[in-house]
Amino acid sequence: MIEISHVDKWYGPSFQALRDCTTSVAKGEVVVVCGPSGSGKSTLIKCVNALEPFQAGEIILDGIKVNDPKTDLPKLRARVGMVFQHFELFPHLKIIENLCLAQEKVLGRSHDEAMAKAAKLLDRVGLKDHARKYPAELSGGQQQRVAIARALAMDPIAMLFDEPTSALDPEMISEVLDVMVDLAREGMTMMVVTHEMGFASKVAHRVIFMDQGEIVEDALKTDFFGSPRSDRAQKFLSKILSH
Amino acid sequence: MFANFDFDVIRRSLGYLFFDGMTFTLTLTGLGALGGLIFGTLIALMRLSGYRLLGRIAGLYVDLMRSLPLVLVIFWFYFLVPYIGQWVTGSSRPIRVGAFTSSLVTFILFEAAYFSEIMRAGIQSISKGQPAAASALGLTYAQSMRYVVLPQAFRNMLPVLLTQTIVLFQDTSLVYVLSIPDFLGAASKVAQRDGRLVEMYLFAAVVYFAISCFASFGVRRLQARIAIVR
């Protein structure tokens, strides 16, 4: 589904954000990407739907080359859902309108069709009663659930999560993770940048560990938690799990 | 396109344009900015003094000036200054005031309203701990303003103050309505005398543009340097 091969990315002439990153995510697979801050994990996930350009290597998404100038990027992006750290709901639109905007403008669905879909998804994330509210009237956890619903409204073939719980107060993390766990169990292809190792051990198939722009470890979940091969991954895990 | 134009008229009038016109414009800009800054700072201090009445009066003055077009204010003071002069000197009839004095008074009092808003923002941007620290050292209110708060406010606001001065430089051209030979007035006089409107107005535009561009480039560089120091 997602093939990442030999991707290099520089910011300016001197700082290399990604070094020769190669990995893949198969259909129906859930892959968690972790690593210390500044390790390039967010950058990598943003390269997948070309939100960040990269200089070398290639990424193929469902058979379409992302970094091909001929690729219709809006069309490609519309097929991959993305959830951001800071939710990024559109503050001037009601919750239901947030879910309808891209359905109508990008997919060309009729308003009624979009509304029906939006209502169904809001119900699914448990926020049916908030459809007519504005994002700022919701809690962080609720906003992030809306953001997931907004991405799902596009009927994506895969979902990208960029630290979906890092900006949340602790008591709101589980409500978002619950939605993600359900999604994983239904067989959604997911690439998730997160530090939530509980989530990883529950539903991930593979775990990727990144440091300084490199993929240091790319292992099955059981191997990663059982005996990570690299020192850096061990150190990172002990820091995260010791609390 | 410019075949029938006589650009030599510019060369012939350069002396008049710059020695008379531009000197007037720059002097008016410089003194107007200086006076406006001093009065503006006083007004800002009045507004922040905590004395209700004083603050109210200063606020009304600023709001009034900022609500009126500069052209109207220029007319106001052109006719009002002789009476103010009469009142100040106690003479029996309105005193005669030259074009320069009249426009200088106008610009100082008008710009003071704008400069005061900048200085007010500057003073408010200084953390409350600064005047507190100053009074803890035994400085009086006046001393803490003079030596601690105002220097910092002025420094922080310098780029904005200079940008406002560039606006003032352009606005001085409005004394044209009093037929005063500032730079534009001088250019206009030559233009009408020789029937060379196109050449003179284009030249005036180029000169204003060059000076303003150069000055705002300088302000941007200053801003970048201040940003690094901080």
Binding site: M82 | S67, Y176, S216
Partner: protein, 243 residues
């Protein structure tokens, strides 16, 4: 002060035969409002376009926007009006120039275009500031949903940016009204012009200017109150502007 006040002058007939002196001032007020509204439309349209150009990733677009702003910002408005009014008809092909010179209400149209373009540079700067003040993630989220750049601006960025810059736009509109008075130099007899005419006819200098001053204050109050209502009506529930 040996000045002879005569406040009843406003109700005496003016020598130009159009009614009282008060009528004179009021017709000036009307022209001021007409001119500034027309100029404001130009300022908003051009300013929004140029301001958006300055925020685009394209270097060329942002440079053109920069040049536009610098061009209109670094010349006194008075000089710009002279260029439009006296210079333009002479440097265009002869028959166009003739048409321009014979155009009825030339001072009005010149003022509208001259002041409109002058103010558009300032509206552009505000628009740019508004768009740049939005979190970077907003643009990313819209892009990730598959919206094109044009759609992103139209549906996501500009609706928020314009709400945020409402207060500075109000004061730019007030500047437009005030700047209308500069057009008396090209023969537009608006409010300041009528006050000046009243002073010349009646010799009641201070009554004339007081009348104009009061009317300007009234316009200011009306605009400020109206904009406050507008701001309130487009405010987003729960969202605090100027965080």
């Amino acid at each position: 002060m040996n000045y002879h006040w005569n406040w009843s002058i406003f109700f005496e007939p003016a020598p130009n035969g159009t009614g009282t002196y008060l009528d004179m001032l009021l017709s000036g007020l009307l022209l001021t409002i007409e001119t500034s509204l027309c100029a404001w439309i130009i300022a908003l349209v051009f300013g929004a376009v140029v301001g958006v150009m300055r925020t685009l990733p394209s270097k060329a677009a942002s440079r053109i926007g920069f040049a536009y702003v610098e061009f209109f910002r670094n010349m006194p408005l008075l000089v710009q009006l002279f260029i439009w009014f006296f210079v333009l008809p002479e440097i265009v092909p002869q028959d166009w120039g003739l048409w321009l010179k014979q155009m009825p209400h030339a001072p009005f149209y010149t003022a509208v275009i001259g002041i409109g373009l002058f103010m558009s540079a300032r509206v552009a700067e505000q628009t740019r500031a508004g768009v740049n003040s939005l979190p970077r993630g907003q643009k990313m989220a819209a892009t990730a949903l598959g919206l094109t750049t044009a759609q992103t601006y139209r549906y996501v960025l500009l609706p928020m940016a314009f709400r945020i810059i409402m207060p500075p736009l109000t004061s730019e509109f007030l500047s437009t009204i005030k700047n209308t008075s500069v057009a008396i130099t090209i023969g537009l007899i608006e409010l300041t012009g009528e006050a000046r005419a009243m002073q010349e006819f009646s010799f009641q200098v201070f009554e004339a200017f007081t009348g104009a001053t009061v009317l300007y204050l009234l316009i200011n109050i009306v605009v400020v109150v109206a904009m406050r209502f507008l701001e309130r009506s487009i405010a987003i529930p729960g969202y605090i502007t100027g965080k």
